[in-house]
């Protein structure tokens, strides 16, 4: 196996993992604390990308566009919480799935009406559009390194917020026993709203980071949402550390599987069959990983300890 290719693919896996973490973190908090299944979380990611593309085009600066897109994405999240989601807390999961599924349809079509069906152009900022030469002469896009760095920085900040602050204590307490937390004087609805806004911001951030490398189009969040659910199941519901570990695992396994599995299959099967079998296997790989984790540890790798549900 080519060591340079392996290193580059590891970076690719890390970059996917970091984006997945940003989306999964919000999803796992909302699910863990509010027991609320929010399928529309992927829409938050998509909206972040649309806002960032639009504001970047208007201001001519990626950083300025991002700075405007974040609060706008949070505003959409808060509005959704107040208008729709808040009425579904404590309801049956099926009700929540149906309601948030409806929100996906509504917002996806709304975005299509406002911005049109053509994918939006969102160029990589000029200061990161070059390739960096790594060890061994391999090149890697600077912007992807920027995503990895930015994502890890946000992950560190989020960890500090959850582990070191009073707000973080309330978030963790809420994840294990929201009823008791309320009986001790915390306005749980307000906490939910804050957590929701935080989740919307993280997903929006992921969207604006991903926008320049992926096409900005209405359905861009759909695929990622499924992966994010796999991540939080692997990591353990409600657990930020679990989401981080799960996201990196899924990112690496998916990327390395896509790059090396077909070649591995060629060792045992003829090339023509391997070309068929390899892609099929690699697209199943993360689900196999999820099943394996669930067999070994049904509550995920790092569950929010002692969650009462």
């Amino acid at each position: 196996m080519d060591p340079i290719l392996l290193a580059v693919q590891t970076l690719n896996g890390l970059q996917l993992g970091v984006l997945l973490f940003l989306v999964a973190a919000g999803l796992t908090l909302v699910f863990g604390i509010m027991d609320f299944i929010n399928l529309a979380h992927g829409v938050q990611y998509m909206i972040g990308a649309y806002f960032a593309a639009t504001f970047t085009a208007v201001t001519g600066s990626f950083l300025l566009g991002a700075a405007l897109a974040l609060p706008a994405a949070v505003l959409v999240g808060v509005a959704l919480e107040r208008v729709v989601f808040r009425h579904f807390y404590g309801r049956d999961h099926l009700d929540q799935v149906l309601a948030t599924f409806g929100v996906i349809f509504f917002l996806t079509e709304l975005v299509r009406v406002i911005w049109g069906p053509t994918p939006l152009s969102f160029p990589v900022p000029a200061w990161a559009s070059h390739s960096v030469t790594l060890f061994g002469g391999a090149t890697y896009p600077a912007y992807r390194l920027f995503i990895i760095g930015g994502g890890l920085a946000v992950a560190a900040g989020l960890y500090a917020l959850v582990a070191r602050t009073r707000f973080g204590m309330l978030v963790r307490a809420g994840a294990s026993n929201p009823r008791m937390l309320q009986a001790l004087g915390t306005d749980i609805k307000r906490l939910f709203l804050l957590v929701f806004a935080l989740g919307a911001m993280l997903a929006g951030f992921a969207g604006l980071m991903a926008g320049p490398i992926l096409s900005v189009e209405p359905s861009m969040g759909d695929n990622l949402l499924i992966l994010a659910f796999v991540v939080i199941v692997i990591g353990g519901l409600g657990s930020i550390q679990g989401a981080f570990l799960g996201a990196l695992l899924v990112g690496l396994v998916d990327t390395l599987g896509r790059s090396f599995l077909t070649d591995a299959v060629k060792l045992v099967l003829p090339a023509s069959a391997a070309v068929d079998v390899g892609p099929a296997l690699s697209s199943m790989l993360i689900y196999v990983l999820m099943a394996a984790v669930l067999i070994v540890s049904p509550t995920g790798l790092l569950p929010a300890k002692g969650a009462t549900r």
Partner: protein
């Protein structure tokens, strides 16, 4: 929302004198979902064709009912049942995607109506399942892939890396390419349908060091691949050839990343003929964007219907109308137009490059002829005689 009634609406139809004919067309396109932009091109192209006939294709009051297949075969079948039974259409036209065409093919060709595909051209309906009630104004799917394969071979490229989504059309596409490419395939990678990040595949390409890459990545997948390929700094090192990936529907999103990439097509906006100049000019004026082959082929479909209905003196005599359709006496935007025995056109295929029109709008422009009067590879399997 799904029904647009053009020209003579029902009221006008009621006012017609007894015995007068009208023409009812069902236009099936993909108008919602991620691939809606291609369907929008197709619809706008067809409607411009109707407009250029003064709203009267073949001189008949024409009513076009537009339906959205949502890129879902079951929805398409339902919609086409409605067109045939409720709207009593004479012709079902349009259809962007092959899986949709395969779903509606049988119900339409076994009814009293004609089916005219303006885009989809899957192998079975060009070969042994061809029908006297089916016509195609685009191409058989393999042809475009084959044309790129021939060009890549002709330009002395020895080693290519192949990349396509892991579904039937992806595999067919690469097979079509390999039929006319004589060099070595260093690797053949199939990605998950709908995959949006190609970093792993791009790293594999870098490591495999081929002379060129050939890909078929329609829609958003292609936009992402093209952008990421350029970002990785590969665009100038390893040429990226493609089919149905870089075109006027995706160039607005890929912008500079797509410019300079080569593909093949039967039509470009800069083809030099009178019909095409009028089409491109009026299309841009009316719709505000540059038409793609989706629009051009649909425009041709409308012009074909116009000429055939006029020649057959109406739609009542189906045999007469079929004979007129086969003769295809209209000025196609691609220049000469003629049907093969299997009702697929025999067209010239050009090497095309993503570049800028004189006014700066990106489009696929003609570079050179690759195949002259290229008949598809399945026509021989079609038993139809005429």
């Amino acid at each position: 929302m799904k029904r647009t009634v053009l020209a003579a609406a029902l009221m006008a139809g009621l006012a017609l004198p007894a015995g007068a004919q009208d023409l009812r067309i069902g236009l099936m396109s993909t108008l919602t979902g991620p691939q809606a932009v291609t369907g929008q091109h197709l619809r706008d192209g067809f409607m411009l064709g109707v407009e250029h006939a003064g709203g009267k294709l073949g001189g008949l009051e024409t009513k076009v009912t537009i339906v959205d297949d949502q890129l879902k075969p079951d929805v398409a079948v339902q919609e086409v049942e409605g067109l045939l039974k409720r709207d009593n259409v004479n012709i079902v036209a349009g259809v962007v995607y092959s899986n949709i065409l395969m779903a509606v093919y049988k119900p339409v060709v076994e009814s009293d109506a004609f089916l005219i595909s303006a885009n989809a051209g899957p192998a079975p309906v060009a070969g042994n399942r061809c029908s006297e009630n089916f016509f195609n104004t685009s191409w058989q799917n393999d042809q475009t892939h084959g044309a790129v394969g021939k060009h890549v071979s002709d330009s002395g490229i020895k080693k290519v890396f192949l990349l396509a989504p892991n579904y039937q059309a992806g595999k067919d596409g690469l097979t079509g390419f390999k039929r006319h490419f004589k060099g070595e395939v260093v690797d053949e990678v199939y990605t998950k349908l709908g995959q949006l990040d190609f970093s792993a595949e791009i790293a594999k390409i870098q490591s495999a060091k081929p002379d060129a890459v050939y890909t078929f990545m329609p829609g958003g997948m292609g936009v992402n691949l093209v952008k990421q390929y350029a970002q990785a700094g590969l665009k100038d090192k390893i040429p990226l050839f493609s089919a149905f990936t870089v075109d006027e529907t995706t160039l607005p999103a890929t912008e500079d990343a797509g410019l300079g990439l080569f593909s093949a097509s039967i039509w470009t906006p800069d083809l030099d003929n009178v019909a095409n100049k009028r089409f491109v000019e009026d299309f841009r004026k009316k719709n505000g964007y540059v038409p793609s082959y989706f629009a051009a082929q649909a425009y041709d479909a409308a012009r074909l219907i116009d000429a055939a209905v006029r020649q057959a003196g109406g739609v009542k005599d189906k045999a007469k109308l079929r004979a007129a359709l086969r003769q295809a006496k209209f000025d196609s935007v691609r220049g000469a137009f003629a049907f093969n025995k299997n009702h697929f056109p025999v067209s010239d295929f050009y090497l095309v490059e993503a570049a800028k029109l004189p006014d700066g709008a990106p489009a696929m422009l003609k570079r050179k002829l690759v195949f002259e009067k290229y008949a598809d590879d399945y026509a021989g399997e079609c038993p139809m005689k005429w």
